[in-house]
Symmetry: C6
Subunit: 76 residues, 6 copies
Protein backbone atom coordinates (compact mmCIF):
# COMPACT_ATOMS: atom_id res chain seq x y z
CA UNK A 1 0.00 0.00 0.00
CA UNK A 2 1.07 3.54 -0.62
CA UNK A 3 2.79 5.06 2.36
CA UNK A 4 0.50 8.06 2.44
CA UNK A 5 -2.72 6.21 3.17
CA UNK A 6 -2.23 7.32 6.79
CA UNK A 7 -0.45 10.68 6.93
CA UNK A 8 -1.59 11.44 10.47
CA UNK A 9 -3.85 10.33 13.32
CA UNK A 10 -4.99 13.91 13.90
CA UNK A 11 -8.49 14.83 12.75
CA UNK A 12 -10.55 18.00 12.99
CA UNK A 13 -13.57 16.44 14.67
CA UNK A 14 -14.50 13.34 16.69
CA UNK A 15 -16.68 12.14 13.79
CA UNK A 16 -13.72 12.29 11.43
CA UNK A 17 -11.69 10.45 14.03
CA UNK A 18 -14.34 7.75 14.08
CA UNK A 19 -14.19 7.43 10.30
CA UNK A 20 -10.43 7.09 10.54
CA UNK A 21 -10.94 4.28 13.05
CA UNK A 22 -13.20 2.49 10.56
CA UNK A 23 -10.51 2.92 7.89
CA UNK A 24 -7.81 1.58 10.22
CA UNK A 25 -9.91 -1.51 10.93
CA UNK A 26 -10.30 -2.19 7.19
CA UNK A 27 -6.66 -1.81 6.17
CA UNK A 28 -5.56 -4.86 8.17
CA UNK A 29 -7.92 -7.01 6.11
CA UNK A 30 -6.28 -5.77 2.91
CA UNK A 31 -2.77 -6.34 4.20
CA UNK A 32 -3.52 -9.89 5.36
CA UNK A 33 -5.59 -10.83 2.29
CA UNK A 34 -4.22 -8.73 -0.61
CA UNK A 35 -6.31 -10.57 -3.21
CA UNK A 36 -9.27 -8.24 -3.91
CA UNK A 37 -11.32 -11.00 -5.54
CA UNK A 38 -11.05 -13.22 -2.46
CA UNK A 39 -12.00 -10.30 -0.23
CA UNK A 40 -15.02 -9.58 -2.43
CA UNK A 41 -16.06 -13.21 -2.11
CA UNK A 42 -16.03 -12.93 1.69
CA UNK A 43 -17.92 -9.65 1.67
CA UNK A 44 -21.37 -11.11 2.48
CA UNK A 45 -19.88 -12.70 5.60
CA UNK A 46 -18.68 -9.31 6.78
CA UNK A 47 -21.66 -7.18 6.00
CA UNK A 48 -24.56 -9.58 6.35
CA UNK A 49 -23.62 -11.66 9.36
CA UNK A 50 -24.48 -10.17 12.72
CA UNK A 51 -21.53 -11.73 14.56
CA UNK A 52 -19.04 -10.50 11.96
CA UNK A 53 -20.53 -7.00 12.14
CA UNK A 54 -20.30 -6.99 15.93
CA UNK A 55 -16.70 -8.19 15.81
CA UNK A 56 -15.89 -5.48 13.26
CA UNK A 57 -17.48 -2.85 15.48
CA UNK A 58 -15.20 -3.98 18.32
CA UNK A 59 -12.13 -3.39 16.16
CA UNK A 60 -13.39 0.10 15.36
CA UNK A 61 -13.75 0.71 19.11
CA UNK A 62 -10.14 -0.33 19.71
CA UNK A 63 -8.85 1.94 16.95
CA UNK A 64 -11.12 4.80 18.05
CA UNK A 65 -9.51 4.67 21.51
CA UNK A 66 -6.11 5.18 19.84
CA UNK A 67 -7.28 7.98 17.56
CA UNK A 68 -9.12 9.73 20.39
CA UNK A 69 -6.02 9.63 22.59
CA UNK A 70 -3.90 10.94 19.69
CA UNK A 71 -6.26 13.90 19.42
CA UNK A 72 -6.34 14.45 23.17
CA UNK A 73 -10.05 13.69 22.90
CA UNK A 74 -10.62 16.82 20.81
CA UNK A 75 -10.70 18.88 24.00
CA UNK A 76 -9.28 21.91 22.31
CA UNK B 1 -23.51 10.09 8.00
CA UNK B 2 -23.81 13.72 8.96
CA UNK B 3 -20.66 15.07 10.46
CA UNK B 4 -22.40 16.34 13.55
CA UNK B 5 -23.56 12.98 14.87
CA UNK B 6 -20.59 13.21 17.26
CA UNK B 7 -19.87 16.83 18.15
CA UNK B 8 -17.90 15.95 21.28
CA UNK B 9 -16.90 13.16 23.65
CA UNK B 10 -17.63 15.36 26.67
CA UNK B 11 -20.80 14.61 28.63
CA UNK B 12 -22.30 16.08 31.77
CA UNK B 13 -22.61 12.82 33.69
CA UNK B 14 -21.18 9.29 33.68
CA UNK B 15 -24.61 7.93 32.67
CA UNK B 16 -24.67 10.18 29.61
CA UNK B 17 -21.14 9.04 28.85
CA UNK B 18 -22.35 5.47 28.96
CA UNK B 19 -25.17 6.26 26.54
CA UNK B 20 -22.64 7.85 24.22
CA UNK B 21 -20.60 4.64 24.40
CA UNK B 22 -23.68 2.66 23.33
CA UNK B 23 -24.18 5.08 20.43
CA UNK B 24 -20.53 4.77 19.39
CA UNK B 25 -20.84 0.98 19.32
CA UNK B 26 -23.90 1.18 17.05
CA UNK B 27 -22.54 3.62 14.51
CA UNK B 28 -19.89 1.18 13.27
CA UNK B 29 -22.63 -1.27 12.31
CA UNK B 30 -24.33 1.42 10.21
CA UNK B 31 -21.08 2.42 8.50
CA UNK B 32 -20.15 -1.18 7.63
CA UNK B 33 -23.69 -2.23 6.61
CA UNK B 34 -25.39 0.96 5.32
CA UNK B 35 -28.46 -0.94 4.07
CA UNK B 36 -31.11 -0.38 6.74
CA UNK B 37 -33.27 -3.27 5.51
CA UNK B 38 -30.40 -5.73 5.88
CA UNK B 39 -29.64 -4.43 9.35
CA UNK B 40 -33.29 -4.81 10.32
CA UNK B 41 -33.18 -8.42 9.11
CA UNK B 42 -30.22 -9.13 11.41
CA UNK B 43 -31.86 -7.42 14.37
CA UNK B 44 -33.13 -10.61 16.09
CA UNK B 45 -29.56 -11.94 16.09
CA UNK B 46 -28.38 -8.84 17.92
CA UNK B 47 -31.08 -8.44 20.45
CA UNK B 48 -32.26 -11.99 21.08
CA UNK B 49 -29.06 -13.97 21.07
CA UNK B 50 -27.13 -14.06 24.33
CA UNK B 51 -23.70 -14.30 22.72
CA UNK B 52 -24.37 -11.34 20.43
CA UNK B 53 -25.63 -9.29 23.37
CA UNK B 54 -22.53 -10.15 25.41
CA UNK B 55 -20.25 -9.24 22.49
CA UNK B 56 -22.12 -5.95 22.08
CA UNK B 57 -21.73 -5.19 25.76
CA UNK B 58 -17.97 -5.67 25.38
CA UNK B 59 -17.85 -3.05 22.62
CA UNK B 60 -19.74 -0.64 24.86
CA UNK B 61 -17.10 -1.29 27.56
CA UNK B 62 -14.29 -0.44 25.14
CA UNK B 63 -15.96 2.80 24.07
CA UNK B 64 -16.89 3.68 27.65
CA UNK B 65 -13.18 3.50 28.56
CA UNK B 66 -12.48 6.11 25.86
CA UNK B 67 -15.37 8.38 26.82
CA UNK B 68 -14.51 8.14 30.53
CA UNK B 69 -10.87 9.08 29.85
CA UNK B 70 -12.04 11.98 27.64
CA UNK B 71 -14.10 13.27 30.57
CA UNK B 72 -11.30 12.71 33.07
CA UNK B 73 -13.67 10.25 34.73
CA UNK B 74 -16.08 13.07 35.61
CA UNK B 75 -13.94 13.89 38.64
CA UNK B 76 -14.79 17.56 38.45
CA UNK C 1 -33.02 4.23 32.34
CA UNK C 2 -32.96 6.79 35.10
CA UNK C 3 -30.05 9.15 34.80
CA UNK C 4 -28.86 8.49 38.32
CA UNK C 5 -28.08 4.82 37.92
CA UNK C 6 -24.44 5.92 37.61
CA UNK C 7 -23.80 9.02 39.69
CA UNK C 8 -20.04 8.51 39.80
CA UNK C 9 -17.20 6.12 38.99
CA UNK C 10 -15.61 6.78 42.38
CA UNK C 11 -15.92 4.03 44.99
CA UNK C 12 -14.58 3.65 48.52
CA UNK C 13 -12.82 0.34 47.98
CA UNK C 14 -11.47 -1.83 45.14
CA UNK C 15 -14.16 -4.44 45.88
CA UNK C 16 -16.89 -1.84 45.42
CA UNK C 17 -15.16 -0.77 42.21
CA UNK C 18 -15.33 -4.35 41.02
CA UNK C 19 -19.06 -4.52 41.79
CA UNK C 20 -19.53 -1.31 39.82
CA UNK C 21 -17.71 -2.95 36.90
CA UNK C 22 -20.15 -5.88 37.05
CA UNK C 23 -23.04 -3.40 37.04
CA UNK C 24 -21.58 -1.52 34.07
CA UNK C 25 -21.31 -4.76 32.11
CA UNK C 26 -24.97 -5.58 32.78
CA UNK C 27 -26.46 -2.23 31.85
CA UNK C 28 -25.47 -2.54 28.19
CA UNK C 29 -27.56 -5.71 27.95
CA UNK C 30 -30.61 -3.83 29.26
CA UNK C 31 -30.09 -0.92 26.88
CA UNK C 32 -29.71 -3.15 23.82
CA UNK C 33 -32.53 -5.56 24.79
CA UNK C 34 -35.00 -3.50 26.86
CA UNK C 35 -37.59 -6.29 26.94
CA UNK C 36 -37.21 -7.89 30.38
CA UNK C 37 -39.09 -11.05 29.36
CA UNK C 38 -36.72 -11.70 26.47
CA UNK C 39 -33.73 -11.13 28.72
CA UNK C 40 -35.16 -13.57 31.25
CA UNK C 41 -35.54 -16.15 28.50
CA UNK C 42 -31.83 -15.83 27.63
CA UNK C 43 -30.76 -16.02 31.26
CA UNK C 44 -29.76 -19.72 31.22
CA UNK C 45 -27.40 -18.98 28.35
CA UNK C 46 -25.67 -16.32 30.40
CA UNK C 47 -25.39 -18.03 33.69
CA UNK C 48 -25.15 -21.70 32.79
CA UNK C 49 -22.91 -21.66 29.74
CA UNK C 50 -19.18 -21.59 30.39
CA UNK C 51 -18.30 -19.61 27.27
CA UNK C 52 -20.90 -16.94 28.01
CA UNK C 53 -19.65 -16.68 31.59
CA UNK C 54 -16.07 -16.31 30.41
CA UNK C 55 -17.07 -13.65 27.88
CA UNK C 56 -18.99 -11.80 30.60
CA UNK C 57 -15.99 -11.93 32.88
CA UNK C 58 -13.92 -10.29 30.14
CA UNK C 59 -16.36 -7.38 29.94
CA UNK C 60 -16.09 -6.95 33.70
CA UNK C 61 -12.30 -6.83 33.29
CA UNK C 62 -12.56 -4.06 30.69
CA UNK C 63 -14.88 -1.99 32.90
CA UNK C 64 -12.77 -2.67 35.98
CA UNK C 65 -9.78 -1.15 34.17
CA UNK C 66 -11.81 2.04 33.65
CA UNK C 67 -13.14 2.18 37.22
CA UNK C 68 -9.69 1.47 38.68
CA UNK C 69 -8.13 4.27 36.62
CA UNK C 70 -10.94 6.63 37.68
CA UNK C 71 -10.11 5.87 41.30
CA UNK C 72 -6.37 6.20 40.74
CA UNK C 73 -6.19 2.54 41.75
CA UNK C 74 -7.38 3.41 45.29
CA UNK C 75 -3.83 4.39 46.16
CA UNK C 76 -5.01 7.01 48.59
CA UNK D 1 -19.03 -11.76 48.76
CA UNK D 2 -17.20 -10.31 51.69
CA UNK D 3 -16.01 -6.80 51.08
CA UNK D 4 -12.45 -7.60 51.98
CA UNK D 5 -11.75 -10.11 49.23
CA UNK D 6 -9.92 -7.26 47.47
CA UNK D 7 -8.34 -4.93 50.01
CA UNK D 8 -5.88 -3.45 47.51
CA UNK D 9 -4.45 -3.74 43.99
CA UNK D 10 -0.93 -3.25 45.33
CA UNK D 11 1.31 -6.33 45.49
CA UNK D 12 4.91 -6.85 46.48
CA UNK D 13 6.03 -8.53 43.26
CA UNK D 14 4.93 -8.89 39.61
CA UNK D 15 4.23 -12.60 40.21
CA UNK D 16 1.83 -11.74 43.05
CA UNK D 17 0.26 -9.16 40.77
CA UNK D 18 -0.28 -11.88 38.20
CA UNK D 19 -1.94 -14.12 40.78
CA UNK D 20 -4.21 -11.23 41.74
CA UNK D 21 -5.16 -10.89 38.05
CA UNK D 22 -6.12 -14.58 38.00
CA UNK D 23 -8.23 -14.04 41.12
CA UNK D 24 -9.91 -10.98 39.58
CA UNK D 25 -10.82 -12.99 36.49
CA UNK D 26 -12.43 -15.70 38.62
CA UNK D 27 -14.53 -13.49 40.86
CA UNK D 28 -16.74 -12.31 37.99
CA UNK D 29 -17.77 -15.90 37.35
CA UNK D 30 -18.87 -16.26 40.99
CA UNK D 31 -20.80 -13.00 40.95
CA UNK D 32 -22.65 -13.85 37.72
CA UNK D 33 -23.29 -17.51 38.65
CA UNK D 34 -23.47 -17.62 42.45
CA UNK D 35 -24.62 -21.26 42.51
CA UNK D 36 -21.47 -23.27 43.35
CA UNK D 37 -23.00 -26.55 42.15
CA UNK D 38 -23.72 -25.12 38.71
CA UNK D 39 -20.22 -23.70 38.51
CA UNK D 40 -18.79 -27.10 39.46
CA UNK D 41 -20.81 -28.69 36.66
CA UNK D 42 -19.25 -26.30 34.13
CA UNK D 43 -15.76 -26.85 35.44
CA UNK D 44 -14.65 -29.35 32.76
CA UNK D 45 -15.56 -26.78 30.11
CA UNK D 46 -13.27 -24.24 31.72
CA UNK D 47 -10.29 -26.34 32.47
CA UNK D 48 -10.33 -28.99 29.77
CA UNK D 49 -11.36 -27.04 26.69
CA UNK D 50 -8.57 -25.25 24.84
CA UNK D 51 -10.74 -22.37 23.64
CA UNK D 52 -12.12 -21.72 27.12
CA UNK D 53 -8.60 -21.76 28.56
CA UNK D 54 -7.38 -19.32 25.93
CA UNK D 55 -10.33 -17.00 26.57
CA UNK D 56 -9.64 -17.18 30.31
CA UNK D 57 -6.00 -16.34 29.72
CA UNK D 58 -7.11 -13.22 27.84
CA UNK D 59 -9.14 -12.04 30.81
CA UNK D 60 -6.10 -12.52 33.03
CA UNK D 61 -4.13 -10.37 30.57
CA UNK D 62 -6.70 -7.57 30.80
CA UNK D 63 -6.68 -7.64 34.61
CA UNK D 64 -2.90 -7.90 34.72
CA UNK D 65 -2.68 -4.64 32.72
CA UNK D 66 -4.76 -2.95 35.43
CA UNK D 67 -2.81 -4.44 38.33
CA UNK D 68 0.52 -3.62 36.69
CA UNK D 69 -0.51 0.01 36.14
CA UNK D 70 -1.72 0.23 39.75
CA UNK D 71 1.72 -0.90 40.89
CA UNK D 72 3.51 1.45 38.49
CA UNK D 73 4.91 -1.73 36.93
CA UNK D 74 6.80 -2.51 40.16
CA UNK D 75 9.49 -0.09 39.09
CA UNK D 76 9.96 0.90 42.67
CA UNK E 1 13.99 -15.97 16.41
CA UNK E 2 16.82 -13.54 16.01
CA UNK E 3 16.84 -10.87 18.66
CA UNK E 4 16.95 -8.07 16.15
CA UNK E 5 13.60 -8.72 14.49
CA UNK E 6 12.29 -5.86 16.64
CA UNK E 7 15.00 -3.29 17.24
CA UNK E 8 12.56 -0.53 18.19
CA UNK E 9 8.88 0.46 18.34
CA UNK E 10 9.69 3.87 16.86
CA UNK E 11 8.72 4.46 13.24
CA UNK E 12 8.94 7.47 10.95
CA UNK E 13 5.28 7.55 9.95
CA UNK E 14 1.89 6.26 11.18
CA UNK E 15 1.70 3.98 8.12
CA UNK E 16 5.01 2.35 9.06
CA UNK E 17 3.71 2.04 12.60
CA UNK E 18 0.70 0.21 11.25
CA UNK E 19 2.91 -2.17 9.30
CA UNK E 20 4.89 -2.84 12.46
CA UNK E 21 1.61 -3.68 14.21
CA UNK E 22 0.84 -6.22 11.50
CA UNK E 23 4.29 -7.73 11.96
CA UNK E 24 3.85 -7.88 15.74
CA UNK E 25 0.57 -9.74 15.29
CA UNK E 26 2.23 -12.32 13.05
CA UNK E 27 5.25 -13.07 15.20
CA UNK E 28 3.16 -14.61 17.97
CA UNK E 29 1.86 -17.19 15.53
CA UNK E 30 5.43 -18.19 14.65
CA UNK E 31 6.50 -18.42 18.27
CA UNK E 32 3.52 -20.58 19.27
CA UNK E 33 3.64 -22.77 16.14
CA UNK E 34 7.30 -22.85 15.00
CA UNK E 35 6.66 -25.53 12.36
CA UNK E 36 6.45 -23.61 9.06
CA UNK E 37 4.79 -26.49 7.25
CA UNK E 38 1.95 -26.64 9.78
CA UNK E 39 1.51 -22.87 9.57
CA UNK E 40 1.36 -23.09 5.78
CA UNK E 41 -1.32 -25.74 6.08
CA UNK E 42 -3.45 -23.40 8.20
CA UNK E 43 -2.91 -20.46 5.86
CA UNK E 44 -6.27 -20.75 4.01
CA UNK E 45 -8.03 -20.49 7.36
CA UNK E 46 -6.28 -17.23 8.10
CA UNK E 47 -6.54 -15.51 4.80
CA UNK E 48 -9.75 -16.89 3.34
CA UNK E 49 -12.05 -17.03 6.32
CA UNK E 50 -13.85 -13.81 7.20
CA UNK E 51 -13.96 -14.49 10.94
CA UNK E 52 -10.25 -15.26 11.07
CA UNK E 53 -9.46 -12.10 9.13
CA UNK E 54 -11.62 -10.00 11.45
CA UNK E 55 -9.96 -11.55 14.51
CA UNK E 56 -6.53 -10.86 12.99
CA UNK E 57 -7.50 -7.25 12.33
CA UNK E 58 -8.40 -6.91 16.03
CA UNK E 59 -4.92 -8.05 17.03
CA UNK E 60 -3.42 -5.47 14.68
CA UNK E 61 -5.58 -2.83 16.39
CA UNK E 62 -4.27 -3.84 19.82
CA UNK E 63 -0.65 -3.70 18.68
CA UNK E 64 -1.23 -0.43 16.79
CA UNK E 65 -2.40 1.16 20.05
CA UNK E 66 0.93 0.19 21.61
CA UNK E 67 3.03 1.37 18.67
CA UNK E 68 1.10 4.64 18.41
CA UNK E 69 1.61 5.36 22.12
CA UNK E 70 5.32 4.52 21.78
CA UNK E 71 5.57 7.12 19.02
CA UNK E 72 3.54 9.67 20.96
CA UNK E 73 1.04 9.40 18.10
CA UNK E 74 3.58 10.88 15.66
CA UNK E 75 2.66 14.35 16.89
CA UNK E 76 6.12 15.61 16.29
CA UNK F 1 4.49 -21.81 40.75
CA UNK F 2 7.68 -20.43 42.10
CA UNK F 3 7.44 -16.78 42.98
CA UNK F 4 10.45 -15.86 40.90
CA UNK F 5 9.07 -16.87 37.53
CA UNK F 6 8.44 -13.15 36.99
CA UNK F 7 11.06 -11.08 38.78
CA UNK F 8 10.41 -7.96 36.70
CA UNK F 9 8.58 -6.56 33.67
CA UNK F 10 11.71 -4.71 32.58
CA UNK F 11 13.62 -6.12 29.61
CA UNK F 12 16.66 -4.95 27.69
CA UNK F 13 15.07 -4.95 24.24
CA UNK F 14 11.60 -4.85 22.63
CA UNK F 15 12.16 -8.40 21.32
CA UNK F 16 12.77 -9.66 24.86
CA UNK F 17 9.68 -7.77 25.96
CA UNK F 18 7.72 -9.60 23.31
CA UNK F 19 9.02 -12.95 24.53
CA UNK F 20 7.99 -12.00 28.05
CA UNK F 21 4.50 -11.25 26.71
CA UNK F 22 4.36 -14.76 25.21
CA UNK F 23 5.43 -16.20 28.56
CA UNK F 24 2.79 -14.15 30.41
CA UNK F 25 0.10 -15.48 28.09
CA UNK F 26 1.15 -19.06 28.75
CA UNK F 27 1.32 -18.91 32.53
CA UNK F 28 -2.42 -18.33 32.89
CA UNK F 29 -3.07 -21.64 31.14
CA UNK F 30 -0.85 -23.43 33.68
CA UNK F 31 -2.51 -21.75 36.64
CA UNK F 32 -6.05 -22.57 35.44
CA UNK F 33 -5.20 -26.12 34.31
CA UNK F 34 -2.33 -27.29 36.54
CA UNK F 35 -2.50 -30.87 35.24
CA UNK F 36 0.35 -31.12 32.70
CA UNK F 37 -1.06 -34.28 31.11
CA UNK F 38 -4.38 -32.59 30.38
CA UNK F 39 -2.59 -29.58 28.94
CA UNK F 40 -0.50 -31.86 26.72
CA UNK F 41 -3.70 -33.49 25.46
CA UNK F 42 -5.06 -30.09 24.42
CA UNK F 43 -1.81 -29.07 22.75
CA UNK F 44 -2.88 -29.87 19.15
CA UNK F 45 -5.86 -27.55 19.61
CA UNK F 46 -3.56 -24.69 20.57
CA UNK F 47 -0.86 -25.08 18.03
CA UNK F 48 -2.64 -26.59 15.05
CA UNK F 49 -5.92 -24.72 14.99
CA UNK F 50 -5.91 -21.35 13.24
CA UNK F 51 -8.57 -19.81 15.48
CA UNK F 52 -6.78 -20.87 18.65
CA UNK F 53 -3.50 -19.47 17.33
CA UNK F 54 -5.15 -16.17 16.45
CA UNK F 55 -6.78 -15.95 19.88
CA UNK F 56 -3.41 -16.70 21.50
CA UNK F 57 -1.76 -14.00 19.44
CA UNK F 58 -4.35 -11.52 20.76
CA UNK F 59 -3.43 -12.36 24.35
CA UNK F 60 0.22 -11.77 23.52
CA UNK F 61 -0.78 -8.36 22.12
CA UNK F 62 -2.55 -7.45 25.35
CA UNK F 63 0.44 -8.48 27.49
CA UNK F 64 2.88 -6.78 25.12
CA UNK F 65 1.00 -3.49 25.66
CA UNK F 66 1.60 -3.87 29.40
CA UNK F 67 5.27 -4.84 29.06
CA UNK F 68 5.92 -2.03 26.55
CA UNK F 69 4.36 0.55 28.89
CA UNK F 70 6.40 -0.82 31.81
CA UNK F 71 9.55 -0.28 29.76
CA UNK F 72 8.46 3.17 28.62
CA UNK F 73 8.52 1.69 25.12
CA UNK F 74 12.29 1.19 25.35
CA UNK F 75 12.78 4.84 24.43
CA UNK F 76 15.87 5.03 26.51
Amino acid sequence: MSDNWLPSLITDTPAEGYELAVKLSRVAIKLIQPDAAKREQMRPEYAEDANALIASSHIVATHFATVAAANNYWKG
